[in-house]
Amino acid sequence: MEIDFAGIVAENQSMVFSLALRFLRNREVAEELAQDVFLQCYRQIDRIEDAAHASSWLRRAICHRSIDELRKRRLRPAIGLDDIPEPAATGAVQDPMLRDRLRGMVGALPEKARMVVVLRYQEDLSPTEIAEVLEMPVSTVKSHLHRSLTLLRGRLEKRGFAKVERGGELPVTEVCL
């Protein structure tokens, strides 16, 4: 079956770029890495079985390459401030400051935990699926998730973010990281 590489790129570019961006917190590096991963895929195109296989391959590749890239470059993600403004979310934006801060805090997590959190909440993967992508035990994935959420919650508390729910209060005070 002939694989439509242009279609694969179109279908997966957002996923691949976003994973790299959320993890590396550097737009230029994320774009470069995302391009490289697609080129890797192209070189192996005869091994790709179908579109779903391509997506799965790309997801695994960008995760591992992002972790490698971070180790090589020792990127220090700027917390929340360097992001190019996100496209406006559909519907009411509950709390853009909170989301900026959350992105920053996720970016400050240890690398494996960070990738687990990104795969869980960006890609909506189950712990089992995450374990397959990152080649780690499911129990480790769950442990990373649990600890990360506890850590994030604690940090948000420290910075004075009030309880957030639909129609809830905006933060009263904001402590810069």
Partner: protein, 128 residues
């Protein structure tokens, strides 16, 4: 007070929602890969107004023919720049890919020559 667990997860999903790839990302990838570009989609735009004679007058045949020819000529002129731009873009993509391949080839060659020198130095040192 802090976000409860469920809200935190919701906020994380919202915070980490996928963001669009930069403009031109796919084209850059395809250019670097040298892969065939997708067929360009037909440009959506206002349909050209169909030339019709007004009901209260009947255009002379020669004038009508001239008008149709003029419309056809304008349509061709509109397409040519787009084709030229597209061809130029493809040529640039090929050139950039060639440049990248060349630099990669030279980098590998340089590394091999440097490693060869280093091996000689190392082995010479060991002998001495």
């Amino acid at each position: 007070m802090s976000p409860d667990h469920e809200n935190l997860e919701q906020e994380l999903r919202a915070s980490l929602r996928r963001t669009a790839a930069p403009p031109g990302f796919a084209e850059k990838v395809l250019a670097r890969a040298g892969a065939p570009l997708a067929f360009p989609k037909p440009v959506a735009g206002p349909k050209p107004e169909r030339l019709r004679p007004r009901q209260d007058t009947i255009l002379p045949h020669s004038r009508r023919a001239f008008t149709l020819a003029l419309a056809a000529g304008i349509a061709v002129m509109a397409i040519i720049p787009a084709v030229v731009v597209e061809n130029r873009r493809r040529e640039e993509a090929r050139g950039l890919k060639a440049k990248r391949d060349l630099l990669t080839a030279l980098a590998i060659t340089r590394d091999q020559l440097q490693q060869a020198r280093e091996k000689v130095r190392r082995t010479t040192r060991n002998i001495q």
